[in-house]
């Protein structure tokens, strides 16, 4: 069945996917590098990320096909396409189960103390599974429904912690650690914009491609802006040490909220943002994996792959990532490398293929 989505829906899905894990981990990671300039690291990362998005948008355009993998087959030939798909699948697979496991770990550590993370991982995988089986249209429509609430929660978070902020904590601006501020851009992009190659599978479904390219930029930019604000708030409220010390610094940020001395500790606001964004990230990645496998195994109906895929994701999530420190180490090494290799290889190969084709046409 042909699934068509609008450019607004695409914007929202890009927004959700960029915020995904990033919203909770980026403040800590960026601050670890840039210290009081952590938020400037994120600004640079956003700018570079926009460039990457621009690059991604040029990859698709001429073909009518809505299946990204078929487009790729036509563009670079079956063999190279197969290798690229394998590379992308290995990366997105990593992203998906890491996301599932990080939300499970977060909930079992911070919200439901004592609940085994395995159960929570099961539930996240299950929701993702339901979403994927409903199809892409349903995922993007739900994203539309949740978008206002996510924005509202983010705005509330930013506004309500404002009284606690001390600008002295973000000073001096760009005086110290300049090199580290720029180096920090690398891991930040790996966790946010590099993961957006998953959107390539959604992009051909948008009914107006020109609008879609704009939507891609707007979604990514808006998400980047939100991360900048949150990182700034985290440093200004918790200080550099506070932000670095906590694995979930914006959750701690949420704990500082106080309204009228009655509503205290509404950090669930933060948890809500994270649940929602990570859910959409997991669903989109899950969808990507199902479609990729469908293409590789030449199956008619991708639904047949979803249940086994969900089980594999769950099992991998439960066994492969023992603890949060290991997660952080991964994010700074293996995952980072994999992320760049995948993102850059796919984009480069597809661009090259396009250039060669254009050149050939000119020669003719």
């Amino acid at each position: 069945m042909e699934q068509k989505i609008s450019s607004i829906q695409f914007t929202v899905l890009v927004f959700m996917n960029t915020l995904g894990t990033a919203i909770i981990f980026i403040p800590t990671i960026a601050t670890r590098y840039g210290r009081e300039n952590g938020w400037i690291t994120v600004i640079f990362a956003t700018l570079l990320g926009m460039v990457f998005i621009l690059w991604l948008t040029t990859l698709i355009g001429q073909e009518d096909d809505t299946n990204f993998f078929k487009i790729m087959d036509n563009r670079v030939g079956k063999l190279i396409s197969y290798c690229l798909i394998l590379l992308m699948v290995s990366f997105i697979f990593f992203t998906t189960f890491a996301n599932i496991w990080s939300i499970a770990q977060f909930v079992s550590l911070q919200i439901l103390m004592g609940t085994p993370p395995q159960v929570l991982a099961l539930i996240s995988t299950f929701t993702g599974l339901i979403a994927v089986r409903y199809g892409l249209e349903v995922i993007v429509r739900s994203a539309e429904i949740f978008f206002p609430f996510t924005m509202l929660s983010l705005t509330l978070l930013a506004l309500l912690v404002w009284p606690e902020a001390q600008l002295i904590r973000v000073q001096p601006v760009m005086q110290l650690n300049q090199a580290a501020t720029f180096v920090g851009v690398l891991p930040v992009i790996a966790l946010t914009y590099m993961e957006l190659i998953v959107m390539l599978v959604v992009l051909p479904h948008v009914n107006d491609l020109r609008q879609a390219k704009k939507a891609f930029l707007i979604g990514g930019g808006l998400a980047g802006f939100c991360i900048i604000i949150v990182t700034f708030a985290a440093i200004a409220v918790l200080g550099v040490d506070g932000t670095v010390r906590h694995a979930y610094s914006i959750y701690v940020l949420g704990q500082n909220i106080q309204i009228a001395e009655f509503f205290e500790r509404i950090e669930v606001l933060v948890a809500f943002i994270w649940f929602i964004t990570i859910f959409f990230k997991v669903s989109t990645c899950f969808y990507f994996l199902s479609i990729a496998l469908q293409h590789m195994l030449k199956v008619k109906n991708y639904h047949s792959l979803t249940v086994p895929l969900g089980m594999i994701l769950l099992a991998t999530a439960m066994t492969n990532l023992p603890n949060i420190f290991y997660d952080f180490e991964m994010m700074n090494s293996t995952y980072l490398i994999l992320s760049y290799i995948t993102g850059l290889t796919v984009a480069t190969v597809l661009s090259l293929a396009m250039l060669i084709r254009k050149y050939k046409e000119k020669v003719k």
Partner: protein, 520 residues
Amino acid sequence: MRRRTKKQKQAIIENISADHDVALSSDLDENIDIIKEMLGHSSDLITRKFVIGAREPIQSAIFYINGLINEASVQHDLLHELVVESREAEQTYKANCFDTIKKHLVSIGNVNELHTIAELFHVLLSGDSIIILDGQRVALAIGTRGGEGRGVETVTSQEVVRGPKEAFTERISTNIALIRRRIKDPNLWMKSYCIGEKTQTDVTIGYLNGVVNDKLVEELDRRLKRIKIDAILESGYIEELIQDKTYTPFPTVYNTERPDAIAGGLLEGKIAIFVDGTPFVLLIPCLFEHFLQSSEDYYQRTDIATLLRLLRMLAFLLALLTPSLYIALTNFHQEMIPTTLLISLAAQREGIPFPAFIEALLMELTFELLREAGIRLPSAVGSAISIVGALVLGQAAVEAGIVSAMMVIVVSLTAISSFVFPAYNLAITVRILRFGFMMLAASLGLYGIFTGIIILVLHMTSLRSFGIPYLSPLAPFNLTGQKDIFIRAPLWKEMTRPHLISQKNIVRSDSKPPKPPKED
């Protein structure tokens, strides 16, 4: 002319019962016999033989079902004319008799010729009178439908403070007339179906031609024609047979007994389905927002209507989530409750033997029982149950230390909120879902509730009503649609019909905002 034997007659009857159509015989007595036989000599079938005309009298007979016809019109307009007037008239009737009868004798508007026995039974059992003449293979059906029925009364299920009070009745012709009276436009088209092998129920769809999406009409036509069932007793049968998805708690077909709501729907490009025998008329396509809107929203001032709408959305959330939030907060997230409130809650819960989930389940269940009992009870005893309910739910349970006072407040808040919805079927949906959310909250706290909400939204966005996404215009988002969801924009601003439902003739009003005369 050869009379058929009894055996042959039996064969004809069997043939007809097996759905094979048989033409009328030219013999009067034989026709009478067959009709009587087929109806099993039922006592409410009235048969009367008489003679038309004086010069060349024709043997003829009239049939009708007692109670289904309009007694006065059969007596005065039919029998009197046929038996008495025909005698005094000069012309003969033998040749070309049906035309003459139609033209000169029967003074009733609706007259049809029938050729087969199956046709004959259909109209006879619908309340028409049948005239057959000796030597003719054709019967005349005279529209004398009538009989006892309820008059137009006031609305009982969707009451409003301001707005028309009349409701649909059980009779389909009255219902259609109530709509015609509101929309005097030649483009209001009606199309009739006859559904149900045994009940032969009249089902009529109505729509505004030129406004409605033609594909929608075709789709509905296809779905209605697909129905093969023995009986249609209420519009609920039709609803269940044409809806997009069966296994969902959410209704995807709207029903109402308010003519103004149906008229409003027709003007937005929707299709109404009238079913004979029920005051509940269906409206498709139907989106989630319709269940949170009342027709009164358009009769009240815009700011009041907006406030009421927001209140209803709040009520929806409260009715759905209050008990589960209470369970989640008291069981898993005590740190989120302000300290003073927490102390008072803990003090109340001291000595309560049940965990919060069981407590909530118990109270919700009791309330649901009371509510169900309240509907079934005769109104004279109704007040008794409310006293019992108030005492059992309220005071006694708390004093006996079985439930905490807070729980009673939670349950009553849920109860009040669930009565706010203008549509009863959404209230039932919320009742079902509430228990699911309570279980999620009891096992996984707020995380469970969030997961539940995500799955709920996924499910709702996956629903479609006749191809239209259930949550539109929120998802897929449509800016012009927003003026009639959370807010009710002033009428002069509501210039267009809903985007997805009607693509043709979308401009509704051109009026300028009212302006007071300029003062000198």
